[in-house]
Subunit: 419 residues, 3 copies
């Protein structure tokens, strides 16, 4: 799309895509990436163009826009996006850009509107994007139908809203069907955001994801998290202990009784989901391991559900417990600047101050997020040196990082080839 819009100025990425793809194709397997992938302005733009403007990106939850006219906004790279609930509960996604002179339409993070009205000159769009008013006098030849909002691809499943800015999005059906299945017990339409945190980390977005994809660093860094978290979620994990395997066997019996899915599934390297127990005796990621919300979600009757972990590359990981859910969204802001949004979800009828205390609920992941921010920023600082050279990932502890880096490399190689 870019080429059409700037037909004549030299593309600042000309030559970069091929070279980056070739560097990735020839990289040392199971080693961290070369320096420019973490700090070069050109590679950052490439990541936006080839990953964030082409892959499915986690944007938000359907429960954030429960009613017709509710909207949320976000930025994917430099692209303001709006997601709005239209007729018949349909979720529409648009570039949040007026077709007149290009103003943002919705200028708040969330809200409710009857129509999408541009704040500048009041051009007005239906919730499905059709332009219905363009001022009193645009001339006879003006064609309303040619000036609808530009849509983005939207995929809704299990309460998640994914968007894809490419014209031809990658196939994601198999994953979203499983997502529906795994999240059926939670009645995801009837949740709400109890707390939200937005932090900016001074590091490349891939360092945020790499940090998340291993628990090799947990012991030394995350005392609060380790009150509840198992450091592995797979009985085939080389680190899994006999005690963990026993616990899994016991819990899976309970979950079978409750008819909730738990099997570990991979969808390529992009997605992964599994239900895993928390520490024995612990039911929620809180400081004391007890539930943070007394009203449970959906058809869930016991808080002792372990944690349903869901990974969506490039930009989300999630923990679904019995009493509350934590969803994470990563959005790149610059070569060394990344926004990490955390939302804690509860049943929509849970009452703040009665059923849950938001300060208590957020404590563990506020601490953990801050610790991870420091780790990732220090990682960035060292990588920026001429002395940095790719180092070896541990196949035992860091297979998740290896998977992420391999996924990233494949996407860059394949997507640049197509474009």
């Amino acid at each position: 799309m870019n080429q059409v819009l700037t037909p004549m100025l030299e593309d600042p990425l000309s030559g970069v895509s091929e070279k980056a793809a070739s560097m990735l194709a020839n990289r040392k397997p199971n080693y961290s990436l070369e320096q420019p992938f973490y700090n070069d302005e050109r590679i950052f733009k490439l990541d936006i163009r080839e990953i964030f403007e082409k892959e499915w990106i986690f944007a938000g939850m359907t429960c954030e826009i429960p009613k017709k006219g509710n909207f949320i906004t976000l930025n994917i790279g430099d692209n303001p996006i709006v997601l709005v609930r239209g007729a018949e509960d349909k979720v529409h996604g648009f570039f949040n850009v007026c077709r007149h002179r290009g103003s943002r339409l919705c200028v708040t993070e969330k809200g409710k509107v009857a129509k999408l009205v541009c704040p500048y000159h009041k051009w007005t769009y239906e919730l499905d994007g059709r332009l219905i008013f363009a001022g009193s006098d645009m001339g006879e030849s003006f064609d309303l139908n040619a000036h609808s909002l530009k849509p983005v691809n939207v995929k809704v499943a299990g309460g998640y809203i994914f968007v894809c800015l490419a014209e031809t999005p990658p196939d994601i059906e198999e994953f979203t069907q499983s997502l529906e299945h795994y999240l059926e017990p939670y009645d995801t339409e009837n949740l709400k955001v109890a707390v939200q945190s937005d932090i900016v980390e001074d590091c490349n977005w891939k360092l945020v994801i790499e940090n998340n994809r291993e628990c090799y660093h947990c012991n030394g860094s995350h005392p609060e998290l380790l009150n509840s978290l198992q450091q592995f979620d797979d009985t085939d994990d080389p680190l899994a202990t006999p005690e963990y395997k026993d616990l899994v066997a016991r819990k899976q019996k309970d979950w079978d009784d409750m008819r909730v899915p738990y099997t570990l599934k991979y969808f390529g390297k992009r997605n992964r989901m599994t239900r895993t127990p928390l520490l024995d005796g612990v039911v929620s990621m809180t400081m004391d391991g007890k539930p943070a919300c007394s009203k449970l979600m959906g058809r869930i009757t016991s808080p002792d559900m372990g944690s349903l972990r869901i990974l969506h590359l490039p930009n989300s990981w999630n923990h679904w417990q019995g009493d509350h859910t934590i969803v994470f969204r990563v959005l790149p802001l610059g070569p060394q600047k990344t926004l990490v949004t955390t939302k804690w979800l509860v049943h929509k009828d849970a009452v703040e101050g009665v059923d849950y205390d938001p300060e208590n609920m957020r404590k563990v992941w506020d601490a953990t997020n801050y610790q991870d921010k420091v780790l990732a920023e220090e990682n960035q600082r060292g990588i920026n040196s001429i002395a940095y050279q790719p180092g070896p990932y541990s196949e035992t502890f860091e297979f998740g990082v290896i998977d992420f880096v391999n996924w990233y490399s494949e996407r860059i190689i394949e997507n640049t080839r197509k474009s």
Copy 2:
């Protein structure tokens, strides 16, 4: 001039000028510009080089430097400029750059000096720019005359000071002569700045000007302004109502009696001036429509003068009323950063707290400026998206924007061709 100073490093704009000029030559008429004209770093530099370093730029008012030795400073792009009143009331303009090692000379926004003395090593220049002291020992071969301050072209008319940094400035005589004529009633040498506001808008300078060049957005955004402002200033405006035309006819009779000019004049697309009534019964751009200053300017005897509107592209618009005047100056700071300075002028003998209350005087345009800042910044945010594409201007409501964009395009095309 740049080429001479950096003879060997590749010009970061090499290739850009031609391509930008060609994009402008081939653009869709009456549509907004392509994205890079609003956010590309290279086009920003091109705008500085081809517009702000070559065209006449509004810098300040003569009444700000009433006496010999008074100076004001400003930055045009990266160029610090000083304007100083010299002998025989002459206004001199210089690059505010010492010929020794390049320090700025005058480091405050305004002041009064006997000579221009460099703060670094005290090289000393006459108010006409001649170097008269270069330390006690620069060697025998040193030639004071070869180290005068570098002058900029200065044009003074009707109290306005325009500067041009090019060696051969464009012709501006016809406009400045009319300016003298239209401003004769105001005795512009005997005004003073009652209030000043400097705001930084996070958007391209052209979006500030586009915003100013139409009142299509006024209804929805400017309640304070619409207490006084007519949304058109020309009886030939397609929007002009019969009531407006009647009002104009009545007022012009009064103005004829007062011998003040009012006819709408264009000077190419660069300048425009006209006197137009405010709303019926309103005499000044204040919250209540009443004068903000009880002492009138110059030979004016009634506050009921309507508003003399003056446009100077690329960087100024102005409202001259009977009691006070509002001048606006736009200076680009970056691809998405622009300084907007507003000055409210009154008769120099008007007494603050007696004849005028500055807080009252500034209220309407402080509110309006802030509203326009938000509109222009939201415009920028949408334009930055890959989804942005040039949209159609309304020929009825946005002819002023069309004129500006056409002027801009012509200047870029013509000025790059010459350089």
Copy 3:
């Protein structure tokens, strides 16, 4: 080293080195540099690569890491460096970058450790850089010895620690031997930092050094400094007065009696050292000229030692007095951003509040640093203009600046040729 790490992306400096070297080779002698040497992003990167990553850089003082395990950190360009005292008092220098995934190891400005332990996954290095622990499972083929910390060259002399990031550092022996000799009286291992100041100046690092290399600007700008400072330090200085020469003769007799060296020595243009009297009757750079610390350094018995001035290009100047010492370190942060660190040193047994008052001690140079910051920033602002052109240095007042600029030019020309 860079070429190896980013084999495929175009080097953003390709073509720049040769052009910059050629501009310097053809520049007008005894004139300030062309504009891009003071503000161009590319030349800034060139300065980092060719000067700060290849020359000896003053990093800190040995007395800051008195005991085994003590460390200090600093950034040279984007390179985090750690200096640590190891076994047998040896000072080790490393890129402060973990060989696993590249995290910084030591994340504070100073501290004390038993081993160098990475905060991320606890890889552990001996104080001599050898990796001794890399987690519990890096696989059988993992070779600890291949993952030692990358060392930097370290040179210790007279209490100074210099580092060089190049593989083959320039010869500095002659200078460091003299440094040992001149600093013998001060027992530099037994000093401590009494006060430290870190200021960021919004100007190119070379403007900081140019500012320091002349006292042409002192009269107009440094009232506090001129309470103690002689504006020259060489009886052959064209500005030296008969009174100064007399004073030197008298003082040198005293210094001979004390067996302290004073002769002016040059080591190429890179280094210079000399002992010179302060103003007659003054013994220290304080507001009243009296000592700031009652406990003298080393074997010094009288505070009346004048000032031992030491210059080390590209990044340090120093004043050694009888009672306290002031060391300055300059580190570039960006084309127009520079960190200037000042440390005031005293005998390590001097007691704060008893032997010295830090607020009193820092007063003169805090004032002077601030004045110089303003001068250098105003210099930068003027240089950024298209009107700036290199101006003539005074051979009488600014020979030190000429020497610096010549040294810089030679290093760029020679180092780019080699790389």
